[in-house]
Symmetry: none
């Protein structure tokens, strides 16, 4: 009888509230008001305020990785997949400004993002990127002596920083406009010379 949609409503409210004030400056009662429920109700679905943040990130990140994985699978080769992945990364953020704010800015706290509960979901994204690079090496599109782990982190870091700068710059321009440039530079950096 417990409303199966409440957790999502609470998380979505939390995203909006965190985007506005940051996790530590948001009160549980703020989230409740934003969700249109009483603050006690939140505790029927989440054990602590912290759990909201962790769940928020886990679910959004899991969705994200699923989405990206599905989308790029249609692409013919590693190079096309990387291009698509970069574009998707930026598109998702551009379409969800509150989520972008939370993920790029508010979630970078201490032990809550890469570390701790979310580590698994972040790893999945890293693994996805790495698998595409491996595929490219296999197909000789990407140079075979590429240190894949390093390159994976570089690409993620590059996209992440573009996104962060865009959020901090109050999203004054279109993030996706940078997508091709990022893909081009990265691909040029990792591809085999004769490609």
């Amino acid at each position: 009888m417990r409303d199966p949609d409440k957790p999502r409503q609470i998380i979505d409210a939390a995203i909006r509230v965190f985007a506005r004030a940051g996790y530590y400056h948001s009160r549980v009662s703020d989230i409740a008001r934003e969700a249109g429920i009483a603050s006690g109700t939140i505790y029927l679905y989440f054990k602590t305020k912290d759990e909201i943040l962790v769940t928020l990130f886990r679910e959004k990140m899991a969705d994200w990785v699923d989405h990206v994985r599905r989308e790029i699978s249609a692409e013919p080769d590693a190079v096309a997949k990387i291009r698509r992945l970069v574009r998707l990364h930026f598109t998702v953020l551009e379409r969800n400004p509150d989520l972008a704010e939370v993920v790029q800015v508010e979630l970078r706290q201490g032990h809550k993002f890469f570390r701790g509960a979310s580590a698994h979901e972040v790893s999945a994204y890293f693994a996805l990127i790495a698998s595409v690079l491996e595929e490219g090496i296999e197909a000789r599109q990407i140079r075979e002596d590429l240190p894949v782990k390093v390159a994976t982190k570089m690409l993620f870091g590059a996209m992440d920083q573009l996104a962060t700068s865009w959020v901090l710059g109050k999203r004054a321009y279109r993030l996706t406009d940078a997508a091709d440039a990022v893909a081009v530079i990265f691909l040029k950096g990792v591809c085999a010379d004769d490609v």
Copy 2:
């Protein structure tokens, strides 16, 4: 405000404390104890707890940029400068584990890092990187149609992510080992084809 060395002592204590527990979970009294002074004394040198964080970052970042600028100026050209810059970026973090923890993990909070008070110092680092890229374009080492701002953020993001992963991985390997790979991939990505 007599003792001109106190602020530095406090900031160094704060770095150690923040590295241990994170900004929000560190108490002003923790910093005081770590610095060997009374908590009230901190307020003779800093108006608020927040100001400690902001000052900490400003000063360390300013030192950092100065240091890098000075070091790379000795290098003959843009390519060599980038190589040096990447290595320096990693070396500084590797030599200051507590600072690394704070900068890579704890400082990524809300409105306190890139945004707000620290924005100026981060910009200076970005400007430094951009100026090297411009220099490379000038010298035709780097392709002239490079979107410099995007490339700057990419390099910073790439280094930053490598550093973050290293910190979160409990510094289990040598960060500087990745320096050359990062420089090579980035430079290959941005350099003119005939170089």
Copy 3:
């Protein structure tokens, strides 16, 4: 209010729950679960959580006094009645460990036990004891200058403390083993010298 047995079920559940965790640390939902009903149902039979406690005590105490009154009436004289009463007091507790825990330990709170709603039932027990003492005085078994009220409270207090110590000692021995000793000492204390 259809089901005439529900209140008793609820009270019996409450006894078990209070015995386990104490009144203030027991939740209404705990009692509901123990009774196998929904927490809202409790409010069809009791106005507040407090009322459960008060009713619990009133009913159990009224039963108790009735029981004791009936049992001792069969005894031939005051001395025999006191002996029987002491034994009954201990027997009832020994046979109902949860009730003993609640009555001896949990119910001794503030304005809820002797004071307030339960005062009447406690008074009835006191009156019963006093009436036996009066009977003994009448029959010259008990010395006629005995301050009956004081002696009544003494006997109750003595039994009560024995019971409390027994409960707190985790009922490690048989409470009824002390019954005769208590009766003997008390009776020797109050009886006429020539008896």
Copy 4:
């Protein structure tokens, strides 16, 4: 530099507040207001609200036992000592109405009085009473087959119930008026027949 008298002030304020409203219905801020300090200050001296109650009882009970022990040591024999002890028990309560209220009514909660932290101090009082009884047996004033533990609990229980009734009866009469009667009945109950 921490005020060594503050804990006592807080405890004394707590006694007044608990006497008025009971432990569970008293707020920490009530105690603070009564003590003329800020509520946060209480936490410089006590870890939790519970600790106030436990400390309160421990200290008062320890004082009590010391006081009684010292006073009765002057008496020539066991019988005189019991008489004195009963009178002291009642005198202390009569002179400290708030303490009486707290000890007799508020402190009888769950696991906080005889059980738990206060057990040791209560035991000391029991041991003191028992030692007097033993002394009386030694001197053949008290019958040698007396079950000392039972008699000890009986005396304590008797005094305790007199005190409780007196507190609940709003102290409408003089408790000490009952002291002699209690001592007489108890002593008659435990003394050797030929005394």
